[in-house]
Each structure stands twice: as structure tokens, then as C-alpha cells.
Symmetry: C2
Subunit: 220 residues, 2 copies
DNA sequence: AAATAAATTTAGACAAATCTAAAACACAAC
DNA sequence: GTTGTGTTTTAGATTTGTCTAAATTTATTT
């Protein structure tokens, strides 16, 4: 409907992501997510409140309004479609798509995005397994499970990776783990919460930090 | 090498285009091209001079330095590759590509552009017939002729359109004129410099303004 | 060569987005 | 219920890009 600056869009997107887990988002959380200062966050939150994109009472944290959520889903749609395009058509590797998509997502032409969607064949998930909102902002919520909660010896398929930093993606590439990879948890160690998983007859050791970022669906 | 703001890039691009015809570009020319005020132009010219992208002595007009030209060609490469992508892959019509490419051109990832170029099959000209600079900024200069200078009854092929406004492109679409269209000038009228051209057994009347914007190559 | 007109530059102001440092607030601990 | 700590907000400054209005320079005309 309206157009927002690159900066506004980045704040909106960050609030959207943080409120998934936290419900209410705080100033410090947002500042560290966006690598900016708390004072800057407050300034922007006032602005977005004026534009009715979020609910915010001083000192009480914030969450997106209905309108704010719609805007966020639009940005996420653009981001994930570009990621898909970069990986699928331009053959970017898994860990490179995110950074470039961060820029492309701010080019906001509805027609561009809808035609891109069509050109790509209406993909449902991006290269990290995250669902892509459709034209109306509807997003698929699949019941995925973190491998820390997976029972032993149960076959499952990687469908999502939590973190998007190039560090984690580099590590996963090294261990041959990607979206669609079939795996089984063979052992869990209580000492450090690390685990051993099996992929194609090969065994790998996974740290707790890494495990927390790998999500799977059961084989269907 | 370095990164420039969207605003800086727009000024650089505009100077590049204006100096093709004029040699030396003036403050007012640039201001009207960019729909801004002369004072803003002066401010930006000082900045670009400091960055050694252009030659400029107060009151003497300006032209791009060697470095400035290289930067300009990079921007033009991005713009025209995106235009080609939009028209060829996303099926945008001729008159829609320019506006969207204006935004995409500012996403400056060398890898993105080089991979896009490869994906598109290294096209040589954009949908308006303008040549696309290669990775090294080299640009094809073809000896094209404006139809105002075309002898009567000589077969020629449209290869370029001067103006890029959606108005002119809409008009051309209506008359079935596009890149690759074969035409012949049948008559010129001295009164208003309008002319009659023939396309596929059909005759069309072309105003002086329009004729000045249509460029052709002779049939080969 | 002086006067006038046009183009260009300067000076000062403003909006957006950011920052630092100081003040205000919330809340847990005593 | 006062105190203290950490969080959040305010106040004021900065940078980028823009503008208006005034001053300056260049060009034109007589």
C-alpha cells in the first residue's frame, strides 16, 4: 500500500522475527539484532508507532500491529523469492544468498515480485527451508521439530536452518548437511548436550549450538 | 572498487548520458535531467570532485574523470542487464522495464551482476537496443543512424530508441515499432519535418519529435 | 565598457537516520 | 520502602541529501 524506507523495513523485519519467539520485543534485543544503539531503536519505534505499524508504550516493549505484520510478510516474501532465484537460477551457494537478498528485498515493485514468483514456478520454501509467503501474505506453517527433540534412531529430513549467518552455513556445507538431507540421531550426550547423527552411513558429531539450529520433518 | 550511494550513482549516470552529446555538462542541464534544483547539483558536484570522479571548476561545467566513466559504465551495465532480465525472463513489456531497473541497478554486488550476465547468456543489447557494457566496462559502439538522416526508400532496421520515457514507448508499441522492426522512409514533409514510413506494407505518420528518437542500422 | 540578464554558487535551514551522554524509569534486593 | 542496577528514553549533535533565497560570476546587449 505505502512505501517504507530501507531502514524502516529492516526494523519491521527484525521485530517480526524477534516476536516469533519472544512475543514482546525489547529495545536492547532489537538494538543488538540490528547492530545499532538502543537510542536509535527508540527513535524508530516512535516513527513506526505513528505510522500505526506497531503497538508501543514507552518502557513496555513493542510488537507489530496487524498492518505491520502484513508489511513484514511482504518484505519476507521479497527476500525469500530473491534467495530462491539466486540459488536456483544464478547458482549461488547456500551461504551466499542471504547477504545479496538483504539488498534486493528493498526494491519494492509489486509487479516485479509477482512476476518473479511466477517465473520461479511459485516456490513454497527458500533455500534455507523457510516458507515463502504467497501474494496475499499467507505463510505455510509446517510442524517442524528441532533435532534436539528428535527421538533416537528415527529417520527425518532436514527442512529448515535457524541461523542464517554464513558461518553456520559454511559449517553445514562442510558436513554435507542441507535442506532435504536425511538423518538419524544415534546418540545424545548429557555432558555437553552434543549428539551423534548418521547421514548416509556416515557419522558426525554435532554441538549443542549447532543442533539447536537444525529442524526436521519426519519421513513421509 | 568503492561503493557509492544511490544518489551519487544517479548523478554519475546522468552526467555520463549528458556528456555523450554535450561534451561539457552544465548545472542547469543536470538539474532538469534529475528533476532537482541547481543548488543541489553544485553540492553533489563538489562531493564527486573530492572523490575524483569528475573534473569541475566552479562556473565551468563538468565532465567525468576516467574513474568516473568506469563507475558510470558499471551502473549502466547493471541497469541494462536488469532490463534484459525483466523483458526476457519476467515478460515485462518494453515500456515497463526502465522504471524497475532504475531501482535494481543500485544493488551493487559484482558477483550478482556477473552471474546474472552469465544466466542471461551474455546479451549484447538491452530491450531498447542500447549496448550492454561487458565485465570490463567495454561497450560496443555501433554506427547507428537517426531516421531523420535516412535516405528515402532505403530498408533499415530499428536498433535503438533515444528517449526511455514510458510515453514514447507506449506510442511506439501502438505503432508496432520495436527493436528489430524493418522500415523504410517513404516521404519527408518540409513543413513540420514529419515523415511517412512503411512497415510491413503499412504506412505510418511520424512526427519530428518521434523521428528524432528512432535510430536504425542498414539491412545487412 | 557599462548595464542587464542568466546561470551558478554560497549560506543557512530542514528532514531522515544515526550517535553519545545524561536523565528517567522499572524492578529486584535488602 | 528505600536503594541500586540495568534498561529505556530524552536531549543535543552529526551526516547525507535536499531546499530557498541571496550573492556572485559569466554572458549578452546596447
Amino acid at each position: 500500500m505505502f512505501n517504507y524506507s530501507t531502514s524502516e523495513e529492516n526494523y519491521i523485519k527484525a521485530v517480526f522475527h524477534l516476536q516469533q519467539s519472544d512475543g514482546m520485543v525489547t529495545t536492547n534485543e532489537l538494538a543488538s539484532e540490528l547492530k545499532t544503539k538502543p537510542a536509535s531503536v527508540t527513535d524508530m519505534m516512535k516513527k513506526l508507532k505513528n505510522k500505526k505499524l506497531l503497538h508501543y508504550q514507552p518502557y513496555q516493549g513493542f510488537r507489530l500491529s496487524h498492518e505491520g505484520n502484513k508489511v513484514a510478510l511482504g518484505i519476507i516474501r521479497r527476500h525469500r523469492l530473491w534467495e530462491y532465484f539466486l540459488a536456483e537460477k544464478l547458482k549461488f551457494s547456500w551461504d551466499e544468498v542471504h547477504a545479496v537478498a538483504e539488498h534486493l528485498e528493498h526494491v519494492s515493485s509489486k509487479k516485479l515480485i509477482d512476476k518473479l514468483d511466477e517465473f520461479l514456478g511459485f516456490p513454497r520454501v527458500d533455500p534455507h527451508g523457510d516458507p515463502i509467503p504467497d501474494v496475499n501474505g499467507k505463510i505455510e506453517t509446517s510442524k517442524q521439530v528441532c533435532i534436539t527433540a528428535l527421538p533416537l534412531n528415527k529417520q527425518a529430513v532436514v527442512c529448515h536452518v535457524g541461523d542464517q549467518s554464513s558461518e553456520i552455513l559454511e559449517l553445514l556445507k562442510h558436513k554435507n548437511i542441507g535442506i532435504g538431507t536425511k538423518l538419524e540421531v544415534k546418540k545424545k550426550f548429557d555432558f555437553d548436550n552434543s549428539m551423534e547423527i548418521k547421514i548416509k552411513q556416515q557419522f558426525y558429531n554435532i554441538s549443542e549450538q549447532l543442533a539447536k539450529n537444525i529442524f526436521v520433518k519426519y519421513e513421509s
